[in-house]
Symmetry: C2
Subunit: 95 residues, 2 copies
C-alpha cells in the first residue's frame, strides 16, 4: 500500500515541478508537451518508458504527432503518491 | 491531397483488417490491444512508431500499462484514406 499525499504535500510538489497541473478531481497530475516532430516526441516517450519501467510506475499517456499528454496517478493510493512526484521529476529532467 | 475512401471501400478494408472498428463518426478506425505488461506494450508501440515514421503517417494513440488504443485517420482527407488502411495492416502484422 502506498500512502496518498495530503493537499499541502501536493501543493508543494506542484511548485517543484515544471508545467504539471492537478486534474480537476485532484487524483492525478497532467502535463502536455510539444516537440518539433513525431520522432522527437516518440524519442522522449522512449526515455520516459525506460524510467517508468525502472521505477515500476507507469504513466497514462496520449500521443498524436508531436504532442504528448501525460497523466500520473497511483492506483494503489487511489490518488497521488510520492511515486507520481518522483516520476514527474524524472520526466521533467528528460523533457 | 489524399483521397477519402468511400463507404464501400471502408467496409472492404475493415474485413481485411484484424479487430479494427469504424469510429462512430465514420472518420477514423480504432483498435484496442492488450499485452502481458508495459514492456511488451511499449515494445509494440516502438515497432509501430518506426513503421509510422517510415510511412510518414502517424497514429493517435493512448497507452496505460499493458493496454494500447490506436486511432487512425487522415487529416488531409478529412476522414479515412488508403494510408490508414496501409498502416493498419502493418500494425496488425506487428501485433
Amino acid at each position: 500500500m502506498v500512502e496518498r499525499l495530503s493537499e499541502s504535500e501536493i501543493s508543494s510538489a506542484l511548485m517543484a515541478l515544471k508545467g504539471w497541473k492537478l486534474r480537476e478531481d485532484g487524483l492525478a497530475i497532467t502535463r502536455s508537451l510539444q516537440f518539433s516532430d513525431f520522432a522527437e516526441a516518440f524519442g522522449f516517450m522512449t526515455r520516459v518508458a525506460i524510467l517508468a519501467e525502472k521505477a515500476d510506475h507507469h504513466p497514462e499517456w496520449f500521443n498524436v504527432y508531436n504532442k504528448v499528454e501525460i497523466t500520473l496517478t497511483t492506483h494503489d493510493a487511489s490518488g497521488l503518491s510520492e511515486r507520481d512526484v518522483a516520476l514527474a521529476k524524472q520526466i521533467d529532467a528528460a523533457a
